[in-house]
Symmetry: C2
Subunit: 419 residues, 2 copies
């Protein structure tokens, strides 16, 4: 029996060579650990919600058309439910429910697994993990600068530099002003944003035909994109990023508009500079969403980004930025004399209690096979107990890289390795 | 809109006082981090699989009756699927698919979220996380000893002692021999085990009535349980645990039998000694399951345990073993002079790049309010930039616990905090 299409199995390294697409659990932990470490440095606190939510949470926000992309069903209690396709509605629900208890602004992050019933295409997944970082309760654009700085440092912590990626920064407000200066019907703004969002993927004549009824010429839209100067809100963000020494990672680019209806201010996407991959990350301000999700009960400005693990993994791999993963063994205990197994088990327990990753052969095994296994596992040391002529035990400790060997009392081994 | 019944929201500490049942994300991370650390010390490697699997994976193993307890549905591709109720079938699927690539025995662990459509009762969840540790490819009972030692050290690492919990160790083989000595019909063994498994929860006269057709008297079954001496396989496990100094944590108790059909050898459960909670953990040998799940393709002996997060959390809480969680802030940067905001941002960036969790006020805020916030967040230090008479900047570094204050050049702050 096979796993479902679009889902991933994560195996320990080294991964076997196989036609089947396997994912590395060690690489996943490497990325998640790095995400967590950087978010915490920025004072972000972690939260999580259920992977299954009421379907309404998503249709309320995105309309009924989203249902076609969901893993949704009716549960045994007759509830319409869906596996979460994104985290923001859960965050908005949780934040609205407990907002009084947390001092504003609060900075939260999460690493949820998200699910979408995508059409099957090569490399297209039906689940992925996403780092979600959000700041809730702050109107000032200083929060946008803080969030974008975090995004940049998240990618830098994994080894990427300004030669690898760029954050394209735009402003829904700048677009709204541009739109309003030429079209008085604000209700059509969303349609306009949708057309602009798809310019790259649409033939010019088709875009032009779509823009005409709204009163726009394709050329003036393109001129706005290429000639775009930072407006006041973007300038503040750029200044604060410059003060942090992060200005090189950001480019004002009004070609970014973000398709989703709920963005209200600055929006941004991060891309690899060579343009080989889909967006690494996207986000922006959504000042009205919490009010909408909470049914008007709670009104808080908010902003956030989502960064998926699949594109990031592929980018890191292509740039040679994934380390060689091992079991990280500190000690392999060799048991060559079976009469010493109980003594060896005592030593193994001491080593493990001292926090050292320790491995050994569970069953009687030839000495050279045990040693080979220690090498395969890339253990830092081997230890072997030996009976001395006077009946006492000695421990032979070997550092595998330097091949340095020393003989010491068994009780001294832990002290030597954990000074 | 509320979350689904039986599902949990995990919030950052400190948790607000509320009637709603909130869970601590910090406590969850504390438990997961500890689980991972101990498993790695034992040489276990982490894996993960999809939370959604083909329904068949579970009905093949447990029969159609399991469907009543599942979150199952038909997806948009007409596949019968289920949110995983346990990890062992996924493990067996993954191990069978790639077993050639991994040297036997392999020791794997995972922390999956599992889902069951349980009847709604107070405190009864429809999802939980479970540490799953398994050893695959080893017949020798030394593997059972290794697994039980890991289980014990997992609980000890969280602060629990032999005064808090005990592992009750039993043997399906001992029960099979006892059964065979009195009943020749091996096909009835499973029914017999089910009756024994429920002895605690069944009235004696009902148990006696159920046992009679199989040729057993209730008294002789009870005598076998109370008089049970370790058989050879249990004795080997006990000896190896004794060599590790862990004998005190284990008690032979044939009252444990584990209801599941697939156990084949030693079985065990961990309980709190006071008997206040459900089992903390359960496991045992299941030597035929991988063959069954792989449709006969791969035949490997295996054993494992599962430890849920809900009971464990409650036990730790009741024993006062959950630490006070904070944001773990190293520095709060006070910005009292707004003309120094850009300089302060530069310093903040340096602190964060040095790995220090650093927080500050995004907007102009009164000095005493900033300081109060630093105290609330339990920051270790505050830093404040100050303009000197000669126009240069000085940094005032304060250690909040000792109230020690020092003045240094801004460039020296990081060096002082990360020596």
């Amino acid at each position: 029996m096979d796993r479902l299409p679009g889902f991933r199995d994560f195996y320990p390294e080294p991964l076997p060579p196989t036609k089947d697409e396997l994912w590395s659990m060690d690489a996943r932990n490497h990325i998640f650990d790095s995400w967590r470490a950087v978010a915490r440095r920025y004072g972000f606190r972690e939260y999580e919600g259920p992977p299954l939510e009421p379907l309404e949470l998503y249709t309320n926000k995105s309309g009924e058309e989203i249902v076609g992309q969901l893993f949704n069903f009716v549960d045994k209690g007759e509830r319409a439910v869906a596996m979460r396709p994104e985290m923001t509605p859960t965050l908005a629900r949780m934040a609205a429910a407990q907002e009084r208890a947390y001092k504003k602004p609060f900075k939260w992050f999460s690493i949820p697994q998200l699910f979408r019933y995508e059409k099957q295409q090569k490399g297209r997944k039906r689940e992925h993990f996403q780092l979600n970082c959000d700041i809730i309760g702050e109107h000032d654009r200083a929060a946008d600068a803080e969030l974008i700085a975090l995004l940049i440092d998240t990618l830098r912590a994994l080894g990427l530099t300004s030669a690898d990626f760029v954050v394209r920064l735009s402003s829904r407000n700048a677009w709204s002003e541009f739109f309003a200066s030429r079209c008085p019907d604000a209700a059509k703004a969303y349609d306009f944003f949708q057309i602009v969002d798809k310019l790259d993927r649409t033939r010019p004549e088709d875009s032009a035909a779509l823009l005409a009824p709204l009163g726009f010429k394709l050329e003036e839209v393109q001129a706005f994109i290429t000639g775009g100067q930072p407006n006041a809100e973007l300038q503040l963000i750029l200044d604060q990023l410059a003060a942090r020494g992060l200005r090189d990672f950001v480019r004002v680019d009004y070609g970014v508009i973000r398709g989703l209806a709920y963005y209200t201010g600055p929006v941004f996407e991060a891309f690899d500079i060579k343009g080989e991959f889909r967006a690494i990350c996207g986000g922006g301000r959504y000042d009205h969403l919490i009010k909408q999700v909470s049914g008007g009960k709670v009104d808080l400005p908010a902003l956030g980004f989502g960064m998926g693990d699949v594109v990031l993994f592929e980018l890191l791999k292509s740039r040679g930025l994934l380390p060689q993963f091992t079991a990280g063994l500190a000690v392999y205990v060799l048991i060559e004399d079976e009469t010493l197994r109980a003594d060896s088990l005592r030593l193994i327990q001491q080593l493990r209690e001292a926090g050292l990753a320790t491995e050994f052969s569970l069953t009687p095994t030839k000495g050279d096979k045990q040693f080979k296994r220690a090498l395969e596992l890339n253990a830092a040391h081997t230890v072997r107990l030996e009976k001395q002529a006077d009946g006492s035990l000695a421990a032979k400790l070997k550092h595998l890289k330097s091949r340095e060997e020393s003989t010491l009392a068994p009780a001294e081994v832990v002290k030597r390795l954990v000074p």
